[in-house]
Protein backbone atom coordinates (compact mmCIF):
# COMPACT_ATOMS: atom_id res chain seq x y z
CA UNK A 1 0.00 0.00 0.00
CA UNK A 2 1.35 3.38 -0.96
CA UNK A 3 1.72 6.06 1.69
CA UNK A 4 -1.32 8.23 2.06
CA UNK A 5 -0.83 11.70 0.66
CA UNK A 6 -2.18 14.06 3.28
CA UNK A 7 -2.84 16.70 0.64
CA UNK A 8 -5.00 14.30 -1.27
CA UNK A 9 -6.78 13.21 1.88
CA UNK A 10 -7.66 16.79 2.71
CA UNK A 11 -8.80 17.42 -0.85
CA UNK A 12 -11.14 14.43 -0.76
CA UNK A 13 -12.47 15.40 2.64
CA UNK A 14 -13.09 18.96 1.44
CA UNK A 15 -15.00 17.74 -1.62
CA UNK A 16 -17.13 15.47 0.54
CA UNK A 17 -17.72 18.29 3.01
CA UNK A 18 -18.90 20.61 0.24
CA UNK A 19 -21.29 17.88 -0.90
CA UNK A 20 -22.52 17.54 2.69
CA UNK A 21 -23.23 21.26 3.01
CA UNK A 22 -24.99 21.26 -0.32
CA UNK A 23 -27.23 18.35 0.59
CA UNK A 24 -28.02 19.43 4.12
CA UNK A 25 -28.31 23.16 3.46
CA UNK A 26 -27.98 23.86 7.14
CA UNK A 27 -25.23 25.83 8.86
CA UNK A 28 -26.04 24.66 12.34
CA UNK A 29 -22.72 24.04 14.12
CA UNK A 30 -23.59 20.48 15.15
CA UNK A 31 -24.46 19.58 11.57
CA UNK A 32 -21.22 21.12 10.32
CA UNK A 33 -19.23 19.21 12.95
CA UNK A 34 -20.95 15.94 12.07
CA UNK A 35 -20.32 16.55 8.39
CA UNK A 36 -16.65 17.35 8.91
CA UNK A 37 -16.16 14.22 11.00
CA UNK A 38 -17.99 12.03 8.51
CA UNK A 39 -16.14 13.36 5.49
CA UNK A 40 -12.73 13.04 7.13
CA UNK A 41 -13.58 9.49 8.19
CA UNK A 42 -14.78 8.50 4.71
CA UNK A 43 -11.75 10.07 3.05
CA UNK A 44 -9.46 8.24 5.47
CA UNK A 45 -11.18 4.88 4.96
CA UNK A 46 -10.95 5.22 1.18
CA UNK A 47 -7.43 6.61 1.07
CA UNK A 48 -5.82 3.33 -0.01
CA UNK A 49 -7.48 3.06 -3.38
CA UNK A 50 -6.40 5.93 -5.52
CA UNK A 51 -3.47 5.44 -7.89
CA UNK A 52 -3.27 9.15 -8.67
CA UNK A 53 -1.20 11.66 -6.82
CA UNK A 54 -2.75 15.07 -7.40
CA UNK A 55 -0.75 17.63 -9.21
CA UNK A 56 -2.16 21.00 -8.27
CA UNK A 57 -0.16 22.93 -10.85
CA UNK A 58 -2.19 21.61 -13.76
CA UNK A 59 -5.59 22.44 -12.32
CA UNK A 60 -5.71 25.94 -13.75
CA UNK A 61 -4.81 24.61 -17.19
CA UNK A 62 -7.42 21.87 -16.91
CA UNK A 63 -10.11 24.44 -16.19
CA UNK A 64 -8.95 26.41 -19.22
CA UNK A 65 -9.14 23.22 -21.30
CA UNK A 66 -12.81 22.59 -20.45
CA UNK A 67 -14.38 25.44 -22.51
CA UNK A 68 -12.48 24.25 -25.59
CA UNK A 69 -13.74 20.71 -24.99
CA UNK A 70 -17.25 22.06 -24.61
CA UNK A 71 -17.05 23.89 -27.92
CA UNK A 72 -15.94 20.66 -29.59
CA UNK A 73 -18.85 18.84 -27.90
CA UNK A 74 -21.34 21.37 -29.29
CA UNK A 75 -19.76 21.11 -32.73
CA UNK A 76 -19.89 17.32 -32.90
CA UNK A 77 -23.34 17.17 -31.32
CA UNK A 78 -24.68 19.27 -34.18
CA UNK A 79 -22.90 16.98 -36.64
CA UNK A 80 -24.34 13.80 -35.12
CA UNK A 81 -27.78 15.42 -34.99
CA UNK A 82 -27.58 16.05 -38.73
CA UNK A 83 -26.53 12.43 -39.29
CA UNK A 84 -29.41 11.01 -37.28
CA UNK A 85 -32.06 13.25 -38.81
CA UNK A 86 -30.84 12.53 -42.34
CA UNK A 87 -33.35 10.07 -43.87
CA UNK A 88 -30.58 8.14 -45.61
CA UNK A 89 -28.61 7.65 -42.36
CA UNK A 90 -25.17 8.25 -43.94
CA UNK A 91 -23.05 6.64 -41.26
CA UNK A 92 -19.96 4.54 -41.71
CA UNK A 93 -19.01 3.29 -38.25
CA UNK A 94 -15.60 1.78 -37.71
CA UNK A 95 -13.12 0.90 -35.01
CA UNK A 96 -9.97 2.99 -34.88
CA UNK A 97 -6.78 2.02 -33.10
CA UNK A 98 -5.30 5.24 -31.78
CA UNK A 99 -1.75 5.27 -30.51
CA UNK A 100 -1.10 7.78 -27.80
CA UNK A 101 2.17 9.22 -26.61
CA UNK A 102 0.76 10.29 -23.27
CA UNK A 103 2.52 8.50 -20.47
CA UNK A 104 0.76 10.06 -17.49
CA UNK A 105 -2.15 7.85 -16.47
CA UNK A 106 -4.32 10.80 -15.50
CA UNK A 107 -3.73 12.25 -18.96
CA UNK A 108 -4.84 9.01 -20.60
CA UNK A 109 -7.95 8.99 -18.43
CA UNK A 110 -8.72 12.57 -19.43
CA UNK A 111 -8.18 11.69 -23.09
CA UNK A 112 -10.47 8.67 -22.92
CA UNK A 113 -13.15 10.60 -21.08
CA UNK A 114 -12.99 13.50 -23.52
CA UNK A 115 -13.31 11.12 -26.46
CA UNK A 116 -16.30 9.42 -24.90
CA UNK A 117 -17.95 12.69 -23.91
CA UNK A 118 -17.80 13.95 -27.48
CA UNK A 119 -20.74 12.50 -29.41
CA UNK A 120 -19.70 10.47 -32.42
CA UNK A 121 -16.67 8.93 -30.78
CA UNK A 122 -16.49 6.52 -27.87
CA UNK A 123 -13.56 4.83 -26.21
CA UNK A 124 -14.08 1.10 -26.27
CA UNK A 125 -10.83 -0.13 -24.81
CA UNK A 126 -7.88 1.50 -23.10
CA UNK A 127 -4.46 -0.05 -23.07
CA UNK A 128 -1.25 1.54 -21.87
CA UNK A 129 -0.49 3.16 -25.20
CA UNK A 130 -3.41 2.27 -27.47
CA UNK A 131 -7.03 3.32 -27.39
CA UNK A 132 -9.66 1.53 -29.43
CA UNK A 133 -12.15 4.17 -30.48
CA UNK A 134 -15.48 3.50 -32.14
CA UNK A 135 -16.55 6.34 -34.42
CA UNK A 136 -19.78 7.11 -36.21
CA UNK A 137 -18.13 8.58 -39.29
CA UNK A 138 -14.93 10.22 -40.46
CA UNK A 139 -15.93 13.79 -39.71
CA UNK A 140 -16.68 13.16 -36.07
CA UNK A 141 -13.41 11.33 -35.53
CA UNK A 142 -11.29 14.07 -37.06
CA UNK A 143 -10.12 15.49 -33.74
CA UNK A 144 -8.95 12.08 -32.62
CA UNK A 145 -7.23 11.06 -35.85
CA UNK A 146 -5.44 14.34 -36.32
CA UNK A 147 -4.16 14.22 -32.76
CA UNK A 148 -5.58 17.63 -31.93
CA UNK A 149 -7.27 16.47 -28.75
CA UNK A 150 -4.16 14.66 -27.63
CA UNK A 151 -2.06 17.73 -28.32
CA UNK A 152 -4.35 19.86 -26.19
CA UNK A 153 -4.22 17.40 -23.31
CA UNK A 154 -0.44 17.11 -23.61
CA UNK A 155 -0.21 20.87 -23.31
CA UNK A 156 -2.44 20.75 -20.23
CA UNK A 157 -0.15 18.30 -18.54
CA UNK A 158 2.94 20.12 -19.68
CA UNK A 159 5.79 18.23 -21.27
CA UNK A 160 6.59 16.44 -18.05
CA UNK A 161 5.22 13.20 -19.43
CA UNK A 162 8.00 11.28 -17.80
CA UNK A 163 6.19 10.28 -14.62
CA UNK A 164 4.16 7.16 -15.35
Amino acid sequence: MRPVSSQFLLLKATALFVLWIMLSGSFNWIHLLLGATASLLIAWINSGHSPFVPNFRIWGKTILFLPWLFSRIVHSTLHVTKLILNPKLPISPKLLHVKTNLRNRAAVVLLGNSITLTPGTITAEVDDSTLIVHTLDDVSSEDVRSGRLEGKIASVFGNGDTSP
Partner: protein, 99 residues
Protein backbone atom coordinates in the same frame (compact mmCIF):
# COMPACT_ATOMS: atom_id res chain seq x y z
CA UNK B 1 -36.05 35.69 -17.67
CA UNK B 2 -38.70 33.05 -18.19
CA UNK B 3 -38.44 33.41 -21.96
CA UNK B 4 -34.76 32.53 -21.75
CA UNK B 5 -35.57 29.49 -19.60
CA UNK B 6 -38.20 28.34 -22.10
CA UNK B 7 -35.75 28.71 -24.97
CA UNK B 8 -33.11 26.68 -23.16
CA UNK B 9 -35.54 23.94 -22.15
CA UNK B 10 -36.97 23.66 -25.66
CA UNK B 11 -33.49 23.45 -27.16
CA UNK B 12 -32.62 20.70 -24.67
CA UNK B 13 -35.86 18.92 -25.51
CA UNK B 14 -34.95 19.04 -29.20
CA UNK B 15 -31.67 17.24 -28.56
CA UNK B 16 -33.39 14.69 -26.33
CA UNK B 17 -35.89 13.97 -29.13
CA UNK B 18 -33.02 13.57 -31.61
CA UNK B 19 -31.30 11.15 -29.24
CA UNK B 20 -34.47 9.09 -28.85
CA UNK B 21 -34.88 8.93 -32.64
CA UNK B 22 -31.27 7.83 -32.88
CA UNK B 23 -31.74 5.11 -30.29
CA UNK B 24 -34.63 3.73 -32.34
CA UNK B 25 -33.08 4.13 -35.79
CA UNK B 26 -29.41 3.28 -35.50
CA UNK B 27 -28.41 -0.29 -36.23
CA UNK B 28 -26.30 -1.60 -33.34
CA UNK B 29 -25.10 -1.04 -29.77
CA UNK B 30 -22.01 0.93 -30.69
CA UNK B 31 -23.79 3.42 -32.91
CA UNK B 32 -26.69 3.73 -30.49
CA UNK B 33 -24.31 4.64 -27.71
CA UNK B 34 -23.35 7.72 -29.74
CA UNK B 35 -27.01 8.75 -29.82
CA UNK B 36 -27.28 8.31 -26.06
CA UNK B 37 -24.21 10.42 -25.55
CA UNK B 38 -25.91 13.36 -27.31
CA UNK B 39 -28.51 13.32 -24.57
CA UNK B 40 -25.90 13.18 -21.90
CA UNK B 41 -23.75 15.94 -23.32
CA UNK B 42 -25.94 18.69 -24.66
CA UNK B 43 -29.57 17.75 -23.99
CA UNK B 44 -29.22 17.44 -20.24
CA UNK B 45 -26.97 20.49 -20.14
CA UNK B 46 -29.44 22.81 -21.87
CA UNK B 47 -32.39 21.39 -19.95
CA UNK B 48 -30.79 21.77 -16.52
CA UNK B 49 -29.46 25.24 -17.30
CA UNK B 50 -32.99 26.20 -18.35
CA UNK B 51 -34.41 24.95 -15.06
CA UNK B 52 -31.65 26.74 -13.15
CA UNK B 53 -32.54 30.02 -14.89
CA UNK B 54 -36.18 29.45 -14.05
CA UNK B 55 -35.35 28.84 -10.40
CA UNK B 56 -33.44 32.10 -10.03
CA UNK B 57 -30.32 32.43 -7.94
CA UNK B 58 -30.22 30.36 -4.76
CA UNK B 59 -28.58 27.29 -3.30
CA UNK B 60 -30.67 25.23 -5.71
CA UNK B 61 -28.75 26.52 -8.69
CA UNK B 62 -25.56 25.28 -7.09
CA UNK B 63 -27.18 21.88 -6.55
CA UNK B 64 -28.35 21.72 -10.15
CA UNK B 65 -24.84 22.54 -11.34
CA UNK B 66 -23.51 19.79 -9.07
CA UNK B 67 -25.93 17.28 -10.61
CA UNK B 68 -24.76 18.47 -14.03
CA UNK B 69 -21.11 17.96 -13.09
CA UNK B 70 -21.98 14.53 -11.76
CA UNK B 71 -23.68 13.65 -15.06
CA UNK B 72 -20.66 14.85 -17.04
CA UNK B 73 -18.32 12.80 -14.88
CA UNK B 74 -20.29 9.58 -14.73
CA UNK B 75 -21.92 9.25 -18.13
CA UNK B 76 -18.67 8.74 -20.07
CA UNK B 77 -17.65 6.12 -17.54
CA UNK B 78 -20.93 4.24 -17.90
CA UNK B 79 -20.90 4.47 -21.69
CA UNK B 80 -17.30 3.29 -21.83
CA UNK B 81 -18.00 0.38 -19.48
CA UNK B 82 -21.00 -0.75 -21.53
CA UNK B 83 -19.24 -0.51 -24.86
CA UNK B 84 -16.15 -2.23 -23.54
CA UNK B 85 -18.27 -5.06 -22.18
CA UNK B 86 -19.98 -5.36 -25.56
CA UNK B 87 -16.64 -5.45 -27.38
CA UNK B 88 -15.12 -7.97 -25.00
CA UNK B 89 -18.19 -10.18 -25.20
CA UNK B 90 -17.42 -10.51 -28.89
CA UNK B 91 -20.03 -8.28 -30.48
CA UNK B 92 -19.03 -7.18 -33.98
CA UNK B 93 -19.67 -3.55 -34.89
CA UNK B 94 -22.21 -3.04 -37.63
CA UNK B 95 -20.84 -2.05 -41.03
CA UNK B 96 -22.47 -0.96 -44.23
CA UNK B 97 -22.72 -3.93 -46.57
CA UNK B 98 -22.04 -2.06 -49.80
CA UNK B 99 -18.45 -1.17 -48.92
Amino acid sequence: MDVLAVIFILAGLFFLVVAAIGVIRLPDVFTRSHAVSITDSLGAFLMLIGIAIHEGFSLNVLKILAVLALLYLQNPVIAHATVRAALRAGLKPWQREST
